[in-house]
């Protein structure tokens, strides 16, 4: 019995273990590196840069429209922007406007679930 429990050959298994662990480590490294390109491209596509620029542009333009009784351009356009942004770009937009003295402050809040954008524009 004592003869069977011999430590002298355990270095073979030890070498086997060392090689396996190093292989696992390399596999983890390779796994991480192949998705570098993917996450870069996905990060660029995920960020709604052009959406935010576009929404901000049309909202700023709409603040200069008038609100005549016939068409109520400003209110109509801003409501349409909110509806379209929610249904086509999955973004919630709120607009509010306050006038203090000669300055008009327009607040824009944009949130598409991942990115939020808030801005206050002052006119003039």
């Amino acid at each position: 019995m004592a003869r069977l429990m011999n430590d002298e050959a355990q270095w073979i298994v030890l070498m086997g273990f060392i090689v396996s662990f190093s292989l696992f480590f390399l596999a983890v490294l390779i796994n991480q590196s192949t998705i570098v390109g993917q996450t870069t491209a996905e990060a660029v596509s995920e960020f709604p840069k052009n959406d935010i620029r576009g929404v901000r542009g049309v909202l700023t333009e709409s603040t200069f429209l008038d609100d005549e009784s016939t068409y109520r351009n400003k209110t109509t356009v801003q409501n349409e922007i909110v509806i379209l942004a929610l249904s086509r770009q999955n973004a919630i937009i709120t607009i509010s406007s306050t006038t203090i003295g000669e300055y008009t402050y327009t607040e824009i809040h944009y949130n598409n679930g991942v990115i939020g954008y808030n801005e206050i524009t002052t006119f003039p």
């Binding site: 050959a9 070498m15 390399l26 390779i30 192949t34 390109g37 870069t40």
Partner: protein
């Protein structure tokens, strides 16, 4: 009797052989795991995209050494020392992405100003690894291509951006316009003066505020062509020698202050006669037309909110005769009126960045 010392048992040999064989087989499989792994090749596209954004959507930056230079303009394209350029950017301003400034584009592609590849790597790429690249700009109308860099190999990262390239404004005063504005005089004098005015307050701080369409006299190229002078000469004096431009004077008039003179750098030539490509200095004979081409930054030392006057003095060689003269009417205004000035045009162009 068999001794155990120094004798390898058969079983040990068998076990060790199995181990070595399988280890060798595993070791030969390891290179297969590294196929397609190329540390720098994996982000060629990402570097190309980032460079494309820097060039097309960013106006660039002058370095911290860009203190007040003789021009007084802080934008990177006016820095005479290339070490004062911190970052390239071709956009007119950060509010006008995808619209490129013509002078910035000229400076960017100028082979004598910046050397490929080091100057571009430090100012557009910002990476540790020395990538090679090719940046090309093609104007869709004229099919003119400007590029910097080598020809790309088979495998490269790529991005393509559609942009608008801004052309400078220009004014052409031909004989029809001279008649319409009433710029010929019936007086017979030996010296005639023709004035052009640029009201910088009206150009920069009035109704038109979009930098893509603004005419900025401090930084833009200003081109004024006067043609048809042969036709406005009085036929009675057609045998006499040609008139000449005896002087070109510049005045700046800040609002509410008396006129000052703008210092005129003698090294900056701007007068071109009759379509010749070499500039001349007054006095020079005038046949059919003259062109005044002021390079970008020519008026950069003018005080803000001033009117800039350009006075051309025509000498009649001592003979009293009528000629181009607007001292009795108003100076020709270089402004946003499309009748006076061809406004800055935005032309389609394509910018491609290849990185490898």
């Amino acid at each position: 009797m068999t001794e155990e010392n120094g004798v390898m048992s058969i079983d040990f040999l068998a076990g060790f052989t199995i181990f070595m064989l399988s280890f060798i087989w595993i070791a030969t499989m390891v290179p297969g795991l590294f196929i397609g792994l190329n540390a720098h090749g994996i982000d060629y596209d990402a570097v190309a995209y980032r460079t494309g954004v820097i060039l097309v959507e960013d106006p660039g930056a002058a370095g911290s050494l860009g203190v007040l230079r003789p021009r007084g303009i802080f934008s990177w394209e006016f820095q005479p020392d290339t070490r004062d350029v911190a970052r390239f950017g071709l956009a007119i301003s950060k509010d006008t992405p995808n619209i490129l400034n013509d002078y910035k584009t000229d400076r960017f592609f100028c082979a004598t100003a910046f050397a490929y590849p080091e100057d571009y790597r430090n100012r557009a790429f910002f990476t540790d690894h020395p990538y090679l690249f090719n940046i090309s700009l093609k104007e869709t109308d004229t099919n003119m291509v400007r590029s910097v860099g080598d020809l790309p190999p088979d495998n490269y990262g790529y991005i393509r951006r559609d942009v608008k390239l801004r052309q400078p404004s220009n004014a052409t005063i031909d004989h029809l316009k001279i008649k319409a504005f009433g710029y010929t005089t019936t007086e017979n004098v030996t010296f005639h003066r023709f004035s052009i005015v640029m009201n910088t307050t009206e150009l920069l701080n009035d109704k038109l505020r979009n930098p893509a369409y603004q005419i900025n006299p401090f930084t833009d190229r200003i081109i004024i062509n006067i043609t048809g002078l042969e036709q406005i000469r009085d036929p009675a004096f057609s045998a006499s020698p040609y008139p000449n431009i005896s002087a070109v004077d510049f005045y700046q008039h800040p609002h509410g202050q008396p006129s000052l003179t703008i210092p005129w750098y003698p090294s900056e030539d701007f007068l071109y006669e009759d379509g010749n490509t070499t500039p001349v200095r007054p006095p020079v004979d005038v046949h059919d037309g003259v062109s005044l081409i002021f390079g970008p930054g020519f008026f950069s030392t003018v005080l803000p909110n001033s009117d800039i006057y350009i006075n051309l003095t025509f000498g009649m060689n001592g003979q009293e005769q009528p000629y181009l003269n607007n001292t009795q009417t108003l100076p020709f205004a270089y402004n946003y009126d499309p009748v006076n000035v061809t406004q800055p045009q935005l032309k389609d162009a394509v910018l491609e960045v290849a990185v490898w």
